[in-house]
Structures are given as C-alpha cells and as structure tokens.
Symmetry: C2
Subunit: 457 residues, 2 copies
C-alpha cells in the first residue's frame, strides 16, 4: 500500500488534477491521496494559502474581505467548472467558506489556523468529488475523523503518539482516501497547522500510521538534484538517497521534501519516492534507510543563507567552568536558537539564523549583554553568512573529502569563516560569506561531479 | 631593564647556579632574577617541590617526616657546600624550614601552599647569598615585601590588579633583585601558589609591574621547536613567535612557557625571549606582538592527549531553543569544563579533558543524566582523543593550509574525529584518536616543514 501526496503545483488547476487522477487510478496500491491547497498556476500567481492568510488578517481587523474571498472562491469554482463537477460540491465548498468566516474563534491564532487549514481541506473534498464522479470510488477523510492529533509547542506543531494507532483504522476503508495535508487537530478539537509546506508531514504521518510500503511525494521537479539548479546548470539527478543524507541536505536548503516529514518515515522505515506529477514515468529520487554505492563519493552539495555569527573572546576562557553554558543561557533567555558553536582558543563563536532578531537595536543590546555578563574581552558579530554542506554516505574518508573540498574552495579564493565537523561521518559543514555562495557551490560541484572522482584513502 | 627567570633545571645544583650568576653578571640590564626551586639534576632525580608536597602530606597525617625533610635539607646544603657559602645562609634556611614545619595552619590547603612556596623562597635566599658573596650586590625580595597579591578562585590563582603598582616600587632598588617564583600572597597574608610551573607567571607579572623591556625565560632547551622533539627527530627551532601563536600552541601541549605567563606580557606588550641556561650564546626564541614573515607558512604543530568526547543526538535539536545551553548547564553543574563543542545536524559533541572525572561510575551517571534531562535519542562517548593544532600567522589562507593538512592526514589514513575552526585565522584544530598522535604529527611536520611549501592562494 502506498501513501501518495501531491504538492500545490500538482493541484493548481483542472489540468493538474486530471494528472493526479490518472496517477492514482493507474496503481491500485495508491490507496491514500494526501492533497495540498491549490498552488501557483504561473509564476506571478498567488497560492490559495497566501490568500487565506490575507483573509484571516482582514477578518481579524474588520477590513473589507470581499475581494480576497472572491479570489479564493474563484480558484475553487474555476476548477469545479473546468472539471465539470456537479452543483453539490460547489454548494459544499461555499458552505464551508461561509462557516469558516462566521464562526467564532477564541484567539487570532485559532482563526488563522482554521483559515489556513481550509485551503487543503476544501481541496481534498473537491478532489474526492472528482474521483467519485469519474468512477474511482473515493472518500474524503478529515483529520478530525481520522484522529490525527497534534500539539503546538514553542511555535512547533508536533504529532501526538496516539495518532498512529488512530490512523490504522483507516486501512478498513474500501474506497481511495483523500486526505487534506498541512494540519491536525488539538486535544480540544481545534485545527492546528504544521509549518509551511507541512502537507509533506501529513503524508509521512499517514505512511507510518497505515504502515505503508512506500510514501510517494509528487511535486514539480524530476528528481532531487545534487546541487541547486539555480546555481549549477542542469545538475545531476540523485537516484537514491539515505534518510540521513536527505536530513543533512534538507538542513542546508534542499527543500523539495519538508525536513520534518522524514522523522515518521525513518521511525517506521518507510521508503519515500519523490516524483514529478508532470512526468510520472520518470523514476524520481528514492529515499530509504540504506543504499548501494553510487558513482559519486558525495551525494549532494547544499547551501543556505541567512546566518550570522557572534564571536566572544576572553583570555583563558577554557579554564572557566561553565563559560559556554553562560553564553548559551543568555541566548536562550532571548529565545534565540544557536545552530553551531565553533570554538577557537579563548574564543567561542555562535552561529545563528539572522531572522531571529526583530531589530538592529535588539542585536546591539544582546552583544552588550554578552560582553558585560561574561566579562568578555571582545564581542563582535559577522553578518550575511551562508552555510555550505557536503553530504554523502559514499565518502571513503571524511578527511580525504574535506581536503578535496577545501582545496577547491582555496583555489577559488573563498575564505572559510567556519569549519564544523562533529561525529557525522557523512557530512561536512562550512561557513562562508553569503556573497561567495554561488562561486563556492560551483567550485564544489565541478570538483565532485564533473571531474573524475579519486579521493585518496 | 630585563626580568630574567630561571627554571628548576637551571638551578638544580651548584654548577647550574654558577651559570646563572655568569648570565646575570654579563648584562647590567638583568636587574631582576626570578628563581624556581631546584629541579632535577638527572632524569630519575626528584624535584624539591615534589619532596615538599610529600612532606606536607606527612605533616598533615602525622607520619614520620625525617627522611623527606632530610632529602630537602640535603639538596640545599649540598648546593651551599659546593658553592662554598658561609654559615649564615645555612642557618637561615634551616631556620626557615623549622619555622615552616612548626607553624600552625588553618587548613591543609594553607599548609600545602606554604610548603610548596618554600622551595622557591629558600632558593631565592640562597641565590642572593651566592651573588653577594661573589661580588654582585643582590637583594632577596619576597612577594610579601613586594606586595605581589593574588587570589584563588575556582582552583585558579590570579594576580590582583594592585600588584602592578606595588611592584613598580622595586625599580628603586640598587642591587640585583632575587625574587622567588611560583607564589604570591593573599589579602590575609597567606602564601598562595600558582599552578605548577608558575614561576613563569611570577616573571611575567614582575615584567609588567616593572615595565621591563624584555622578559627572559631561561630553561634547558635551545629554543621552542616547531613540533614535539620526542615525536619528530630534531625539529626546526622557531626564531620568532607572536603572542597569539604562542598562546594557541601552548593550549595544545607546547609547555616550554606556562600559558598563564603570556597574559601580563601581552597586556604590557613586553617581548619574551626563551633561552637555554646551558647555551646562553644561542638566540633562543623571541615571542612578541608581531613578527616579520618567516620561511614557513605555519609556525608550529602541537598536540595534546587526554581528551574525550560526549556526543548527544536528538532529531531536530536545532529547532529547540536552548538545547545547547541545557546540555552545557548540566556539564557546569558537575563542574566539568567543556573545551570544544563541534556540532552536526541533530547532534552536538562536547570535547573535554578526561581527567575531570573521578570515576567510571561518575561518567556513566553523567551520560544517563544527559540522556534523561535532554530527552536525547542517543548519548555516547569516545575516549582517548588527542587534539592536534596547526598554528601560524603566516598561513596565506586558512582554507589552503587546512586542505594541505587534511590531504596529509588522509594519505596517512588518519581519521578526523572533529574539525573545529572558529574565527581564529592563525590556527586549525583537529580531533584524532590518541593512538594516531605520533603518525599525525609526523605527517604534518613532513608536509609543512620538510617539503617545499607552496600553499595555493
């Protein structure tokens, strides 16, 4: 049995929904379909989810909602019309939207969650109706009905363990199941969304709950590429990745699959296949626990911008028990998440995502607080950093691969702000200036994928 | 004006003390002599400081002290006899020792401090007597008289700031000053020693207080070597180092100069020259703020054993604000100093000195506590690690040097447990298995010092 999830662009219009239908119909193992909200039809188009967020703000602040609501309705209605669906589903969606707008909410957060969730929820109902009208018996199942429970903690939505047992019941269903992605319900029956792109997570949770043989994730790319195609022209497609490789690549910018979607799949050891809705005949990329060697010693090169560093210098800091703890406590008190902590002698550097600061004044105040509370010799920051990640289970030796990577970067004149390699034997992490990102990725790609690979043992 | 400090082996017997006399007499700028306690005369000899520690324990526990006390007395008396000094100094030292043993102490720590300090204190009096008897007017000055105040904090003895102004008064003294190294006095007039080898620190404090032009540190090696001579046969001598290079090298095992001795010298920008008492004609090694380029891109390769790592794995830990802080807080609660914190994705590694654990049970309990309190997926340790450090202000580019270093290690088949490079642009730190230490140092030395150096820009 397969769980098959489709992204927003795969469901953006009638033509795409027909492709989805064909894909599901062609394989009787595709029992569960997880749908996103309609995405962009063309690059300047607006995703329905963005419209719903605008609508939520307008409702909350008492602004005029007519135009936004019409745009949302129009997206569904044009699809319904093109698909030639009957009046029933049209009435149902209109009823759903009206109910959503007129319901009372105990907080703006609750309202926003309900509005955002409706994008997927209405689309699932629409897709189920289309399947049924075209001779493929299908049943819309909501997270409420299935018992997909979640809780929101520190801004993150996590699935509750009892969900998996609840979902097992769905295997009794005879029809194809059409399930809305992106949200679950809290213990008090409120809809709570995952982070953006979270339909991937719903699919993975269903795959684990239903003990699927495969989790198919249909999107609009042929495969996961070995490097960013916007930087490297026509990078190699990756045929097969391990979970861990995917996790590490997704950390540094490989966003085809939502990184939180890996956890349930890993726990239940369910392979994931990323495929293209527009070219379903292509094999795409398989992600599983292990894989046989590929032709390349490394699998992918990822990068992610938006980082900064704060360095704290203090003579003989290594002799002060708890110095690092005090520094990190100050960061935690400010609710700042620190991603990496490279250390020199007498110096500790904190690498964090820059968007965590609300203002330049907040940043300045933090630096001063670190200086004073730690009695530091010097505290300074560096902005506009990118993290660069080389990943591959095929690395014969990390040190050989690292030497090769660094030689490539050195020849390109790229200065490393940070090198961090802990115990992971399948990846290396470098910090560079964001301005060097493209040159660095290009140099590494040339080294590892274009040349004949020969890493010294 | 120069401060000239002599190590224990430079003062181990009469022959060595005559060399010290010649060195001081030959240069009228050598106004202040800082002396250690008599060190080893031959490799199986016992340092007087070790005898004093034994004596302290025996006095404290009421054991028989006769043999130990005799050994201590014998060391001084044989020197006095060989140097043909008069009865006065002999009586003085016997009086000092008697007073030390019969005094009352408020704690064992106070007793131990007083006993240890006596090694240098008596030697300073002896050396001053010898100088005077041989026509070089000299005055023994104690930390009490000079006002060298210290405080002990968390097991570390630090100089108090008012000391520097007090020491300035010494410049009025006409004679050569002979000053005992290794200890200062607390605000309540108790003697408090620095950490072992701390006479270097006394010398540096005097150099700063007296605004010396040079701090000479006489020991038993011709110079500081570019690598451990016990591993690399006849390594290159380093002519000139910067303070920062010395600090980084001393962190990882270069122990010629006590690492805490650098701070006062750096603060007052006083150059340090390490010289050999047995070959005072050799230039030794100069340590100063800046230096002109040398022939090598890197200056030294250091290594230090006795480290271990504790790795903590938890899926999506980077999204948990304060995870690192919580981990480090647990370490601090156990009074464990963490030296480096390399991070992977979903994994943080703590590198620390192994000798901080009292027992294997303590270690096991800590791992369990980390696992439970952090709700970690996995906590595991790796023992017997060594840190390897490559240092050089002459690194044209860190990344080029790192690439070269890693290629050398890869070719030697050495696995890197950790790579850590923060913001220091003059050093790179690697973690390796302690068993690989010699091979790693040899490989790096061959690469950077024996071959023609050509680091890519």
């Amino acid at each position: 049995m397969k769980i098959t999830k489709f992204g927003g662009s795969s469901l953006a219009n009638a033509k795409q929904i027909r492709k989805v239908f064909d894909i599901i119909k062609s394989d009787s193992d595709r029992k569960v379909v997880v749908v996103s909200a309609p995405g962009k039809r063309f690059s300047s188009d607006t995703k329905i989810t963005d419209n719903l967020i605008t609508l939520a703000k307008q409702v909350q602040t008492g602004q005029d909602i007519e135009e936004t609501l019409s745009a949302i309705k129009e997206r569904y209605m044009s699809i319904i019309k093109e698909l030639d669906l009957d009046q029933k589903i049209k009435d149902q969606l209109e009823k759903n939207l009206k109910k959503m707008i007129t319901a009372s909410y105990s907080s703006y957060e609750q309202l926003l969650n309900a509005f955002k969730a409706s994008g997927e929820d209405n689309n699932a109902q629409l897709v189920a109706a289309y399947f049924n009208e075209n001779g493929l018996p299908a049943k819309y199942v909501s997270p409420e009905e299935a018992g997909l429970y979640v809780c929101a903690q520190n801004g993150h939505t996590r699935v509750l363990p009892e969900t998996y047992a609840n979902l097992e019941q769905l295997s009794q269903t005879q029809e194809r199941i059409v399930f809305p992605g992106f949200f679950g319900i809290s213990k008090d029956k409120q809809r709570v969304t995952f982070s953006r792109g979270g339909s991937d997570i719903t699919g993975a949770i269903l795959a684990k709950g239903l003990k699927a043989d495969l989790y198919e994730n249909f999107t609009d790319v042929d495969a996961i590429f070995a490097a960013n195609p916007q930087i490297v022209g026509q990078p190699k497609k990756i045929n097969h990745l391990t979970y861990q490789e995917m996790r590490e690549l997704s950390y540094a910018g490989f966003s085809v699959l939502h990184h939180e979607a890996l956890r349930p799949a890993i726990m239940a050891d369910i392979p994931i296949r990323v495929k293209n809705t527009n070219k379903p005949e292509l094999p795409g990329t398989l992600i599983s626990k292990t894989r046989s060697e590929n032709d390349y010693h490394i699998t992918g090169i990822a990068s992610s911008r938006g980082f900064m560093s704060i360095s704290i210098a203090k003579y003989l800091m290594n002799e002060e028990v708890g110095f690092g703890a005090r520094a990190l406590n100050i960061m935690a008190e400010h609710n700042l998440s620190v991603e990496h902590i490279p250390t020199g002698i007498d110096e500790i550097t904190l690498i964090l995502r820059s968007d965590q600061f609300k203002s330049a004044a907040d940043e300045k105040a933090l630096l001063q607080e670190l200086q004073e509370k730690l009695n530091a010799d010097k505290v300074y920051q560096e902005k506009e950093l990118a993290l660069l990640m080389i990943v591959g289970e095929g690395m014969i030796s990390t040190v050989g691969t690292a030497a090769k990577a660094m030689a490539a970067l050195a020849q390109t004149g790229i200065n490393l702000k940070m090198i961090d390699q802990g115990s992971s034997e399948i990846s290396m992490l470098f910090g560079i200036a964001a301005a060097d990102e493209s040159r660095a990725i290009t140099a590494l790609y040339e080294t590892f994928f274009k040349a004949e690979v020969s890493v010294e043992k």
